[in-house]
Symmetry: C2
Subunit: 729 residues, 2 copies
C-alpha cells in the first residue's frame, strides 16, 4: 500500500469510532430509567443541559462565523488559502461542538440509567456508566480524525502535493491551512471550558454554601433548589467542557506533530503522516479495549478500568514501534531518509524513546498529582490539620500545597523535553505529546465515566433512593480516580509539550529566513512579561464570573429558603436528623418530599445559564486578540508572548488544579473522621466548616480557571501558527 492510500484509512478509523459511539448510545437508551421520580429529575437535568448548550451554541455560532470572516479577510492576499483557512476553522469548531453535544446527550441519558442499575448491583451500573463515557470518548476521537483526516486529504489534492516527494513550500501551506481546524477546536474548547466551568461552579458554590454550611442539610439534597443546576453543571462542565477540552488537546497534539513533521525535518510526507496513522490505530485499539472493561459482582471495578486504559496504552506503544519503523523504512526505500537536521537520520528507536519519555513523565505527573490531592497523604493531611484553627489557616495551607505541587511536575516535563529533544529533536517532543494522547478514546471514556457516576449519585440522592444506591455510585465515582489522575498528568504534560512543538512550528513559519528569537531583544522580553500576565488576567475574569454568579445563586437559594414556608420547616427537620446522625422517620420523609416539590429549580438553572454565557465571551476574545495584536506589532514580541504565557500559564494551571483537588479531599477526609465536637473532628465541626470553605474556594480553581489555562496556552499558540505566514519577516 502506498502512503497516499494509507492516508485514506485515517478518516475510516474515525468513522469506526463514530459507529461504535452510535451503536453504544442506542444500547444505553434502551436501558431501564427507574421510577417516575428518577425520570422526572433526569428530565430536569437533561433539559437544563440542553438549554444551556442551545444558548451557548447560538452565541458560538455568531462568533465562529465572525472569526472565519476575519481569517478569510486576513488571508486576502493569498486567494488559494483564504477560504480554506476559514473553512478549516469552521469545520474544527463544528466538530468540537458536535463532540460536546454527543457527549452531553449520552451522559444525561446514562446518568439516570446508571442510578437505576445501581439499585440492584455494581456490575450493571459500571457497564452503563462506562459505556456512556465511551460514547463521549469515541465521539471526540472519531470526529477529530474524520475532520482532520478528510481536510488533509482534500487539501493535499487541491494544492497538488506529490506525496512521494512533496514540495516543501506547498506542503507548508497545506499544513498551515489545516491549522485552522485546530484553531477552531481550541476556540470552542476555551468557551466550553470557561462557560461550563462558570456554570457548574456558580451552581455548586451556591448550593454548598447555603445548603451544607448555612442550612446544614446534606450535599445534593432535593430540598436545595440549586441542586438541579449543580447536576446540570456537572454535565455542562465536566462532560461537555472536558470533551471539548480533550478534542482540542487531541487535535493540537496531532497537528503539532504533523507541522513539525512537515517543516522541522527533511524528507517530508512520512514524518507528517506518522501522527495521523498513530492516532488512527489508537482509535482501533481503544475500541477493542472498551470490551475488556467489565466486572463481576464483588469484583474490583478499579482493575477493570485500569486494565482497559493501561492495556490500550501498552498495546499502542508496541504498535507505534511498527508504525514508525514502517514509515522510516518506506522513506528510505523512496530514497529520502527522514533527517532531524542535515546528516542526523531519524531512527525508530530514538523516536520511540521520545514517545516513552512523554508517557513516563505523564504517568509520573499523574502519580505526583495524585499524591498532592489524595486523602491520607502528607499534603492533604496538612490541610486537615490546619483546618483545626479555622478557614484562614485552611486557605493558607491549601495555597501553600498548591504552590509546592508545581515543582515536581515541571521538573518531569523538563526531563521529558530534554530526553525527547535529545533523541529526536523537536519532532520528538511533538511525538512525545502525541504518545500520551493516542489512546484518548478509552482514556476519555474512563474520565467521563466519573461525572456520569457522580450524576447518578445525585439523582439517587434527590430521588430518595436507599443509601446503598448512593454508596454504589460513590464507589464507582471513586474507582475512576487513579485513571483520572493519570489522565490529568497526561493533560498537563501533553499541553506543555504540544504548546512547545506548536511554538517551534510558529518559529519556522514566521521566520522563514531562519532569523532567531533572541532573549536579549527587548521586544521579546516585553512579550514575555505581557504573556506571563495574560493567564493571571484570564483567571481573574473566570474567578470573578464565578464569584458574581455564585452570589446571585446564594441570594436566590436564601430567598427560597426564607420565603417558602413549607421548605423552611422541612429544612429544620432534615438538619435535626443530620445533627442527631439518624435517618428521617417515614412520616418526616413524606413531608420533606412534599416540600421538595415546592422548590423553584428553574430560577437557579436560569441564573447559571445566563451568567456563564455572558461571562465566557471576554476571556475567549482576550485569548484570540492578544496574539494577533502582538504578532502584527512584531513576530519577536509574539514569540515572547507565547513563551511568557506558557511559563506562567502552566504553573497557574497546575497550582489551581491541585489546590482545588487537595481542598476537596481535605474536606472529604474531615467528613470521614468520627463526629467529635470536643476534638473538633468530623461532620458539623468547626474544622468541617473550615474545610468546606476551602473546598468552595477550590471549586473555581480546579473546575473553571485551572483547566481553561491549558487551552488558553495552546489556543494562543495555534493562533500564532495560523497567522504566522501573514506576519512572517
Amino acid at each position: 500500500m502506498d502512503n497516499q492510500t494509507l492516508l485514506y484509512l485515517v478518516p475510516v478509523c474515525g468513522v469506526v469510532a463514530l459507529i461504535y459511539a452510535f451503536v453504544t448510545a442506542g444500547w444505553i437508551n434502551k436501558q431501564d430509567q427507574g421510577d417516575a421520580r428518577m425520570k422526572g429529575i433526569a428530565e430536569h437535568i437533561y433539559k437544563g443541559a440542553m438549554a444551556f448548550l442551545a444558548a451557548e451554541y447560538k452565541v458560538l455560532a455568531i462568533f465562529v462565523l465572525a472569526v472565519a470572516g476575519v481569517l478569510g479577510a486576513l488571508y486576502m492576499n493569498d486567494p488559494a488559502s483564504s477560504p480554506l483557512v476559514a473553512l478549516s476553522f469552521v469545520v474544527g469548531a463544528v466538530c468540537s461542538g458536535l463532540a460536546g453535544f454527543f457527549g452531553m446527550k449520552v451522559a444525561t441519558r446514562a446518568n439516570v440509567r446508571t442510578a437505576a442499575e445501581a439499585r440492584t448491583g455494581l456490575p450493571g451500573a459500571l457497564r452503563v456508566a462506562f459505556r456512556g463515557g465511551a460514547v463521549m470518548g469515541m465521539s471526540v476521537v472519531g470526529l477529530a480524525l474524520v475532520g482532520l483526516g478528510t481536510l488533509f486529504i482534500v487539501y493535499v489534492g487541491m494544492f497538488g502535493i506529490d506525496t512521494a516527494s512533496p514540495n516543501q513550500a506547498d506542503f507548508s501551506r497545506v499544513i498551515n491551512v489545516l491549522a485552522g481546524f485546530s484553531m477552531g477546536a481550541s476556540s470552542i474548547a476555551l468557551f466550553a471550558r470557561v462557560g461550563g466551568g462558570i456554570y457548574t461552579k456558580a451552581a455548586d458554590v451556591g448550593a454548598d454554601l447555603v445548603g451544607k454550611v448555612e442550612a446544614g442539610i446534606p450535599e445534593d439534597h432535593y430540598l436545595n433548589p440549586a441542586t438541579i443546576a449543580d447536576n446540570v453543571g456537572d454535565n455542562v462542565g465536566d462532560v461537555a467542557g472536558m470533551g471539548a477540552d480533550l478534542f482540542e488537546s487531541y487535535v493540537g497534539s496531532i497537528l503539532g506533530a504533523m507541522i513539525l513533521g512537515a517543516v522541522a525535518v527533511s524528507g517530508g510526507f512520512e514524518a507528517a503522516i506518522i501522527p495521523l496513522i498513530i492516532a488512527g490505530v489508537g482509535i482501533l485499539v481503544s475500541v477493542v479495549f472498551t470490551f475488556f472493561v467489565r466486572v463481576k459482582e464483588g469484583g474490583n471495578p478499579q482493575h477493570a478500568l485500569d486494565g482497559g486504559a493501561f492495556g490500550a496504552a501498552g498495546v499502542m506503544l508496541v504498535l507505534s514501534w511498527f508504525i514508525i519503523d514502517y514509515f522510516i523504512g518506506s522513506a528510505e526505500a523512496a530514497g529520502h531518509a527522514i533527517e532531524l537536521e542535515a546528516g542526523t537520520k531519524l531512527e525508530t528507536m530514538n523516536l520511540m524513546i521520545a514517545m516513552a519519555a512523554g508517557l513516563v513523565s505523564g504517568v509520573l505527573i499523574g502519580i505526583v498529582t495524585g499524591f498532592y490531592c489524595s486523602k491520607g497523604k502528607r499534603p492533604v493531611n496538612s490541610i486537615v490539620e490546619q483546618s483545626q484553627t479555622g478557614p484562614a489557616t485552611n486557605i493558607i495551607a491549601g495555597i501553600g500545597v498548591g504552590f509546592e505541587s508545581t515543582a515536581i511536575p515541571i521538573i518531569l516535563i523538563c526531563g521529558a523535553i530534554f530526553a525527547a529533544n535529545h533523541f529526536a529533536g523537536l519532532y520528538g517532543v511533538a511525538i512525545a505529546a502525541l504518545g500520551m494522547l493516542s489512546t484518548t478514546g478509552i482514556q476519555l471514556a474512563v474520565d467521563a465515566y466519573g461525572p456520569i457516576s457522580d450524576n447518578a449519585g445525585g439523582i439517587a440522592e434527590m430521588s430518595g433512593l436507599p443509601p446503598e444506591v448512593r454508596e454504589r455510585t460513590d464507589t464507582l465515582d471513586a474507582v475512576g480516580n487513579t485513571t483520572a489522575a493519570i489522565g490529568k498528568g497526561f493533560a498537563i504534560a501533553s499541553a506543555a509539550l504540544a504548546a512547545l512543538s506548536l511554538f517551534a512550528a510558529f518559529r519556522k513559519l514566521a521566520f522563514p529566513n531562519g532569523d532567531e528569537i533572541v532573549l536579549s531583544n527587548p521586544e521579546v522580553l516585553i512579550g514575555v512579561l505581557l504573556g506571563g500576565m495574560l493567564p493571571f488576567l484570564f483567571s481573574a475574569m473566570a474567578m470573578k464570573a464565578v464569584g458574581d454568579a455564585a452570589m446571585d445563586m446564594i441570594n436566590e437559594v436564601r430567598r427560597q429558603f426564607r420565603d417558602i414556608p413549607v421548605l423552611k420547616e422541612a429544612l429544620l427537620l432534615v438538619k435535626k436528623a443530620e445533627d442527631e446522625d439518624r435517618s428521617l422517620t417515614e412520616e418526616e420523609e413524606k413531608s420533606v418530599m412534599a416540600a421538595g416539590e415546592k422548590t423553584e429549580v428553574e430560577r437557579c438553572v436560569a441564573i447559571s445559564t445566563q451568567a456563564s454565557i455572558k461571562k465566557m465571551v471576554m476571556p475567549g476574545v482576550l485569548a484570540l486578540v492578544a496574539p494577533v495584536i502582538m504578532g502584527f506589532w512584531t513576530p519577536h514580541a509574539l514569540a515572547g508572548l507565547l513563551v511568557g504565557t506558557l511559563c506562567s500559564g502552566v504553573m497557574l494551571a497546575i497550582f489551581m488544579s491541585n489546590t482545588g483537588g487537595a481542598w476537596d479531599n481535605a474536606k472529604k477526609q474531615v467528613e470521614d473522621q468520627p463526629r467529635d465536637h470536643a476534638n473538633n473532628t468530623g461532620k458539623g465541626s468547626e474544622r468541617h466548616k473550615a474545610s468546606v470553605i476551602g473546598d468552595t474556594v477550590g471549586d473555581p480553581f480546579k473546575d473553571t480557571a485551572g483547566p481553561s489555562l491549558n487551552i488558553l496556552i495552546k489556543l494562543m499558540t495555534i493562533v500564532a501558527v495560523v497567522i504566522a505566514p501573514l506576519i512572517a519577516i
Copy 2:
C-alpha cells in the same frame, strides 16, 4: 575636577547620610518615653526585636562566611579576583545587616516616643515618627554608598584602571568583583524579608484569629499574649525587613546601571560612574528635604510627607540632567563619546527620557496599586460586597482582584522598557530603574514612618492610653499611605527593570563571544519552565512556614485563654463591652488590666523567633543554589531560568501584594460600616468575620511571600552575574 576625584565624593555623600542618621538618632533618644507602663511595653518590644535580630544574625554570619568561602573557591583559577569577590560579598552582607540593625534599633526607640508625643498632639508625633524613619532611610543609603563607593575606588586602584580610558576587560573584572557586594546585600535581604515576614505574620495571624475572631476582643488588646510578638513582628518584618529590602534594591539598581555602563556602551568610565554620582547627589537632596517635613497643629501631615518625597524626586530629576550632561560632555572632551552601539551617540535628553519613563511608570503603578487596594474603590467594594455571602466568596473575590491587578502594572513596566530602550538602549533601562530609587533616602523615611506610627498605636492600645491617642497614631499611619503606595510602585517597577538590566549584564559577561540566547533552544525553554516554577515553590515554603508557625501561635494563645482563669474572666468582660459598643467601667478596667499582667508573652515571642529562623533557611538556599546548578549545566539554561523567574515572579509578587492589600482594606471598610446585624454590616457581623478571614489569608501574601519575590528575582540574577565569568562560553 577630574572623574577620579569626583568618585571620592561618592562615599563622602554616604558619610553625610550616616552623620545625619547618627545625630537624629541621638535626638530621638532624648525624647519623652511616657509613663512606666508604656516604657515597660516598649522594653518588651525592644527586647523581643533585638533577641530576634541576634538569633537571625548568628545564623546569617555562618551562612555569609560559608558562601564567601565557596565564592572564593569557585574563583580559584583567578587568584586576583578570588579573595575580592568574597570580600565584596561579606562587606555587602555586613552593610545590609547593619542597615537593618540601625533601622530597627531606632524604630523600637521611636515607637514609644511617638506614642508619648501623640498624647498631646499630632505635630510632635509626626516629627518623632518621621525622624525615626529618616534614620532608617539614611542608614540604608549611607551604608550602601560608603560600601559600594569605597570598594569601587579600591578595586579601580588594585586593578590599575586608567580612568580616562579604561581597558574594557580589566574594567569588566572590577565591576564583576564589585557585583559580590550586591549579592551579599540581596542574600541578607532575602533572609531578612522571609524571616521577618514569617515572624510578623505568624504573630499577627495568631493574635487576630484567636483574639479578634474567637474571643471577640479588639486588635492589639493587651489581654492577648500574642500582641507583643505581633508588635515585635511589625519591627522585624516592616522595618528591618523593608530596610534590607530597599538596601538590596538600591544597591542592585546602582550596580546594574554601573555594569551596563561598563559593558554595554563604549566609552567606558563615565557611563559607569554616572549611577554612583546620581546616587550620591540623591542622598544630599534627600537629607535637605527631610527638613521640610513638618506640620503645624491642625495642618495636614499628608502634605508634609508628599512635599518631602515628591519635592526631593522633582529636584533630583532636574539635577540628573546636569549630572548626565556633565559626564557626556566630559567624555566627549576626552575624545571618546559614549556610544550605545557603534555610531549611536548617547544624548543627555535621551537618557533623561529613559529616566522619566521609569519615574512615570513607577508613579502610575503606584496609583494603580492604590486603586486596587483602597477603600471605596471598585475592587475593594467588590470584596466587601462578596463578603456578604461568607469567607469563601470573600476569598474568591480577593484572588480575582489580585489576579486582575497584575495587568496594568505589567503593561506600564513594558511601556517603560520600550521607551527607555528605544531612547537609550539597555543602559537606559538600567538608568530608568535607578531614577526611581535615587531619592531612596527620603522615600524610605516615609515608608518606615508607617510601621513606627503603627507600633506607637499598638503601644497606646496596650498601655490603656485614651482613645484619641490611638486615633492620632492611626491618622499618622494612614497619611503615609499615598506615598507608601507610590513607593510600592517604584519597588515593583524598579525590581523588574533592574532585573532586566542585570540580565543584560549577565548575557554580556557569560557570552563574551557574542553568542545569542535563542528561544527555540530547548535548553533555554527548560530553563524558562524551571525558572517559572521557582517563585511558586519559594512562595509555598514561605506560606507553609507562616501557616505552621501561626498554628503553634494559635494553640498557645488558646491554651493561655483556657488555662489562666483571671484572663478568661477578663476576656468575657471585654467582649461584653465590645458587643454593647461601650467602654469598660473604671472598675472593670482595673480588673482587666490586672489580668493582662498574667499573660505569658515571652512564650509567644519565642514561638515566632524560633519558627522564623528555622524556616528562612531553605527558601534562601534555593535562590542561591538554583542559578549555580543551572549555570554550570549551561549558561543558556541559566538565562532561561532568569527570564522564567522574572516572568512568573513579577506576576506573583504583584498578585500577592495587591490581594493582601485589598483584603486588608476590605476588612477595614467593613469595620467602618454601621453595626447592623440585620443587614450584615459592620463590626461583629458575619460579613466582618468573613472579611477578617480574608485579611488573615492576605497577611502572608502581602508581608511574607509577596515582597520576598522581588528580592528572589534580583538575587538569582545577581548570582548569575557573579558566576558569569566562571561559566562563560
